[in-house]
């Protein structure tokens, strides 16, 4: 199989040491076919892959540090979409991607969002584009539950014994994962009920608590805006207001906004807004301003957890 039609989303389970051996040929085949390829993996792996592939002319292969682009997994789909649009505009009929959003050391909250991201990407691309995306998973280092999740979020899974269609079709219709209830914090620092008239006080609460947790001044500004935008959504679409609670988790500040609104479009928080300034963009901005934004929505309402690092934690 040297090229595909439609969107092909494939997990590749490798064993730590054989990363370059397993992945480099996929990139080389793309080069041979003249298919533009975007590779988003760690800085170290970028080095190893470029050493193997050698110099590529025409800017056919582009590398990006996944630790940077994907620190908040909700920023990964827009990067793939930008790449696909850019290459289509240049007349490319087929393209390839290598993306490794999950590595050892991801926190449990990040892992949940990474799995959600992997499920959503099936919906984001559908069959419109001839785009072959492989996602390397280090099966020697990652936990079995992570690999199990990868098998359900990828329609195709390739391991040492070959390629197989996914055992589950859960990837086909991703729902907002309300069922995966998020863990409860141990200690709440502050809570408040908000509506249109006391957003200023909500912002003061978030600024105060974030600064107290050690967040930088510009970090506080960004975090306050993100929380304020999500709360504004509650006012507009979630029953006129909602509740906020805030706590610390290791070096992070987490603020959760709950309301009675129901979110319908699971890609809403990661769809790049239109150039028209009248296009809504509050949740999009929140994802650019925060380290992690977790959206959960069900029949009774929605919860959005925003998280931003306040200070470095000891590893």
């Amino acid at each position: 199989l040297s090229s595909v039609s439609g969107f092909r989303h494939e997990a590749v389970l490798y064993q730590s040491d054989d990363f370059v051996e397993r992945i480099a040929p996929f990139i080389s085949d793309g080069i041979a076919n003249g298919e533009p390829t975007l590779v988003m993996v760690s800085r170290g792996k970028i080095g190893a892959l470029s050493d193997r592939i050698g110099t590529v002319s025409d800017g056919l292969v582009e590398f990006r540090d996944m630790a940077e682009q994907g620190s908040n997994p909700a920023r990964i789909i827009p990067a793939w979409q930008d790449f696909a649009v850019r290459q289509s505009d240049r007349g490319a009929a087929r393209m390839r991607g290598v993306g490794e959003p999950i590595w050892p050391g991801r926190t449990s909250a990040q892992l949940e969002e990474c799995h959600w991201h992997e499920a959503l990407i099936n919906r984001a691309f559908g069959m419109r584009q001839d785009f072959w995306l492989i996602c390397p998973y280090d099966s020697a280092l990652l936990e079995a539950s992570v690999l199990d999740a990868a098998r359900t979020t990828h329609p195709w899974v390739r391991d040492i014994s070959g390629i197989a269609a996914s055992a589950s079709d859960a990837f086909a219709t991703p729902q907002l994962p309300l069922a995966s209830a998020m863990g409860e914090p141990e200690r709440i620092e502050a809570t408040m009920i908000f509506d249109r008239d006391n957003l200023t006080q909500l912002r003061a609460m978030v600024a105060t608590e974030s600064a107290r947790a050690g967040m930088s001044a510009s970090g506080v500004d960004d975090f306050v805006l993100a929380v304020s935008e999500v709360a504004t959504n509650s006012i507009a679409h979630g029953g006129g207001g909602g509740s906020a609670r805030l706590w610390r988790d290791r070096g992070d500040v987490v603020c959760e906004i709950g309301d009675t609104g129901i979110m319908v479009e699971p890609l809403a928080d990661r769809t790049r807004p239109d150039a028209d300034p009248m296009d809504a963009r509050g949740l999009w901005a929140a994802n650019q301003l925060c380290d992690l934004v977790q959206v959960r929505s069900g029949d009774t309402g929605s919860v959005v957890r925003l998280r931003r690092r306040a200070r470095a934690t000891a590893a």
């Binding site: 249109r196 008239d197 006391n198 957003l199 200023t200 790049r272 999009w284 901005a285």
Partner: protein, 319 residues
């Protein structure tokens, strides 16, 4: 303070909250999303015996208010939300940053002298000799030296001080007065430049009227030469409709009307959308965009919405 166990709207134990209650009490080390009138000053906490407990950052306008007997609250010397916005408008529509810069420069100069002032005062107060002759003389010399530095500071910044509507000579005279009083007092504390400070008079702010409109959290002043709008405070859901209407009044301006946002310390994404839409339409040029707002515009994907020449010039970044 804002925990839901108490009522955030009325602020707990006092029943009806005093209008001059400061809600920004814990975030003094980072002013920009907090109060638009915040003015950083050093504050040395001390025990009731006058023993210093270390330096903190506080706001020049923060005082202790007494709501009822023995019930204290953080009081803003400027008054209510409305008074604060009027004060900012008075200090200089669009020139608030000048004041902030002056304060920052003053703080650097003041910090260098603080230790000497405090040490000399403490030495004098603890001097066991009846006449305290030597330590008294030393203190007087340190005060004179500080006043000379203060005078040099005022001279060096005279133009900017006048820019915010204060006579440099009155500032020097006021400093001499404060220091003389402090030198005589029998406490280890800091000279405080508050109280009768001319900048504190909110009643001198622009009258709310036809051209100066106060909406929740925001003061909007229409200017005529050049034609435009100066916004002071926070733009959010509570006043978005008012902002959109005020921007709408500027349609058909040629040259574009000037919208000054240098004293806007929070702007929601919907507020940014309104500003950018007006700028794209060519009716207004937005000036005084602070670094925080520029970062926010970028995060909201709105910097790219502007034509490149507008992003560079129309939305000029305040230096």
């Amino acid at each position: 303070l804002l925990a839901s166990e108490s009522n955030p709207a009325t602020g707990s134990a006092f029943g009806a909250e005093p209008v001059d209650w400061c809600h920004f009490g814990q975030s003094f080390d980072r002013p920009s999303t907090g109060c638009p009138a915040f003015q950083r000053i050093p504050f040395i906490a001390a025990t009731s015996y006058g023993k210093p407990l270390g330096a903190h950052v506080a706001c020049a306008h923060l005082q202790v208010g007494e709501a009822q007997r023995n019930q204290f609250y953080p009081r803003c010397a400027l008054g209510s939300d409305r008074d604060r916005l009027r004060w900012i408008a008075m200090v200089g529509l669009g020139k608030f940053e000048v004041l902030r810069e002056l304060n920052a420069a003053f703080e650097v100069m003041y910090a260098a002298s603080l230790r000497q002032l405090i040490a000399a005062k403490a030495a004098m107060l603890t001097d066991p000799t009846p006449e305290k002759g030597v330590t008294r003389t030393t203190l007087a010399a340190v005060v004179q030296s500080f006043l000379k530095d203060f005078g040099d500071f005022v001279d060096a910044h005279a133009a900017r001080i006048e820019e915010i509507g204060v006579a440099p000579a009155s500032l020097t005279a006021r400093a001499a007065e404060v220091l003389a009083e402090w030198q005589r007092s029998a406490r280890v504390d800091l000279p405080t430049f508050d109280g009768r400070e001319p900048l504190r008079r909110a009643d001198a702010g622009p009258e709310i009227g036809e051209n100066v409109v106060l909406v929740p959290g925001l003061l909007m002043a229409r200017t005529s030469d050049p034609r435009g709008l100066t916004l002071v405070g926070q733009i959010d859901e509570a006043n978005l409709d008012d902002v959109v209407a005020a921007l709408g009044e500027l349609t058909g301006s040629s040259p574009p009307a000037i919208v000054d946002v240098s004293a806007v310390n929070f702007c929601s994404v919907a507020g940014m959308r309104a500003l950018v839409a007006a700028a794209i339409g060519g009716d207004v040029a937005v000036t005084g965009v602070q670094p925080q707002l520029r970062r926010a515009l970028s995060a909201a994907g709105l910097l790219e919405s502007l034509p490149p020449e507008d992003a560079a010039t129309t939305l000029e970044v305040a230096s």
